[in-house]
Symmetry: C2
Subunit: 185 residues, 2 copies
């Protein structure tokens, strides 16, 4: 049962090279499968390397998780220009919610990040969806804050109670927001 200890030091180039992208992908996969933020050792495990190898590509765990977050947030729904704003908004929100709900821990990382990049992405897509409504700036911001924080709240509830809450639970409250939005138009 020799577990084949790896040789120390830089491997010869024949071996499949470790990259930041590979690490991010493994972390994403583990996060989704295990429904929690993976440990560095777990990530290293599936990559077949020592845990400390990860630290050559990321200065610490937090940096790795931020990269994972950026990678994940780019997968949310990209609104189409043609559709009804209500439909597009619902699709966008559900996609965001499902991403957060299926990746427990992601939300906390996202909210703790200094870089506003990832948070901005949802904001931009929301703006493009709500553009046809031509809301005044203040009304848009109110609605955005309400929407974003509401979704975050639901996502947190989903990850604390997996299998109990479905992403459909936002339908009702979303309608409430819709009607409030139409009033302010």
């Amino acid at each position: 049962m020799s577990v084949k200890e790896k040789k120390r030091g830089r491997p010869s180039q024949s071996q499949s090279r470790l990259t930041a992208e590979l690490i991010i992908l493994s972390a994403r996969k583990l996060m989704l499968e295990n429904r929690k933020v993976p440990s560095i050792r777990q990530i290293a495990g599936v990559l077949g390397v020592d845990a400390m190898a990860i630290y050559h590509y990321f200065s610490n765990k937090s940096a790795l998780l931020e990269a994972v977050t950026i990678s994940l947030i780019e997968t949310i729904y990209e609104p189409k220009a043609g559709g009804k704003w209500q439909d597009e908004l619902k699709l966008l929100c559900k996609s965001y919610l499902e991403l957060l709900g299926t990746h427990p821990g992601l939300l906390e990382i996202l909210l703790s990040m200094q870089s506003f990049g990832p948070a901005q992405l949802f904001n931009q897509r929301l703006m493009s969806v709500l553009a046809p409504l031509q809301l005044p700036q203040a009304a848009f911001e109110q609605a955005r804050n309400l929407l974003v924080d509401y979704i975050h709240g639901v996502a947190l509830a989903m990850q604390c109670n997996p299998d109990v809450i479905s992403s459909d639970c936002i339908n009702g409250p979303l309608c409430l927001i819709f009607s409030a939005l139409e009033d302010r138009r």
Copy 2:
């Protein structure tokens, strides 16, 4: 510098007795001061006992934190019967939000609890506030879900970015909800 190692075994009754309530209070204090969920060893430290002594009163850390949560949640604002519903609602929400915002980790514990007791408490107070509106059941539930999850979202943002977000940030979105509520009356 004798650090005065404690004698092993049950202490004689003269010593100030450890109780579940004392443990809960110490945990609350640490949670508030350090802005995070304390470790068992920290709690035991301020109580001057060994970490394992805690386990005589709580079967595990989770049970202790649930007790802390129940204790904390009872401190939220109790609505007065006389006031305007908008004012009372705002006070209730802010009180809840500030509790969650100043006790990072509390929200996750609350949402993970099987016992619905603590979550119900806010629900009840909300019902008493909104009673004068005589909303249909479905509309009340929509509004409650929106409100609760929105507050949770804001609370999470507050604990991830301490000192950046104030509890006043809910004013705008709250007004949005108010107007939606009045429409459904």
